[in-house]
């Protein structure tokens, strides 16, 4: 069955990455999943982030969801929290922007300044 093979492949990748990241803290990506976020396309945004992370075989990132933070007009909203760095909040994150944020911010450590709506 295709799924079993797929799981086996992911298991091997996960094992390799677990060895690499021992002692390393995880980056967190948080996507707003309130009614406003979902209506604005947060599900596709979150899915694109997971897919881009998977394609690049990045395992030391955890993607979670949160509710409405009161900035509904900026949804979909994505927070990137790297260990030891300030939280960066991106607004109006389409699935295309989401993939670019993974490439630029997560992989290369370059914040995509023009899409940032808050940094703390």
């Amino acid at each position: 069955m295709k799924t079993v093979e797929e799981l086996e492949r992911i298991r091997k990748q996960a094992q390799a990455m677990t060895r690499l990241r021992e002692g390393k803290e995880t980056t967190r990506i948080v996507v707003g999943m309130g009614t406003c976020g979902i209506a604005a396309g947060a599900r596709e945004t979150l899915s694109a982030i997971m897919d881009e992370l998977a394609k690049r075989n990045i395992q030391d990132v955890v993607v979670t969801q949160t509710g409405c933070v009161g900035l509904c007009e900026q949804e979909p909203i994505v927070d990137v929290i790297k260990p030891g760095a300030a939280k960066v909040t991106y607004g109006k994150v389409t699935k295309e922007k989401a993939r670019q944020i993974v490439a630029s911010h997560i992989v290369n450590g370059q914040v995509v300044g023009e899409w940032v709506i808050a940094s703390a």
């Binding site: 992911i10 979902i38 997971m50 969801q65």
Partner: protein, 181 residues
Amino acid sequence: MRELSLHVLDIVQNSIAAGARTVDVTVSEDEASDLLTIEVVDDGAGIPPDILESVLDPFYTSRTTRKVGLGLPLFREAARTAGGDLIIESWPGRGTKVRATFRMSHIDRAPLGDMAETVAVLVVCNPDVRFRYRHTRGARAFFFDSEEFKQALGDIPPTAPALAGVVKNLIREGLDPVQRA
């Protein structure tokens, strides 16, 4: 919301916020009676009777950060627009059941949309919650249980981003023969 599966994602967020450990999502398509039924049942905190009357009011929310709560009212609107309705039942301390019905053939019924993506996102983002998804169409049925899936994972962390794609494919492949006319 463009798709009913987005409403499902939204309504399940209420279950998660209510501390549910298990959420059952059931979609049944019954062509004989021209009825589409979507049910979300959780074992969360439940809603006290005096508040239950207000949850379908768009200007009621349990949140203090803003004054509107649109999830349930929008879902009910989608159901009523398509000749159906939404009912919510709750047992404080035991859980809540939301049931929406739609005339399948109604011209204003929103498409069901991508249930696979909705379930995949929920499973990978909420590793501590068990999701069961049952989909029937006439006599055909598909069933997914996130607990069974996690048992197959072995030492793969349940939050591994690659799993979202795996769950999505698993559900798409399972739903295909059920939904095929």
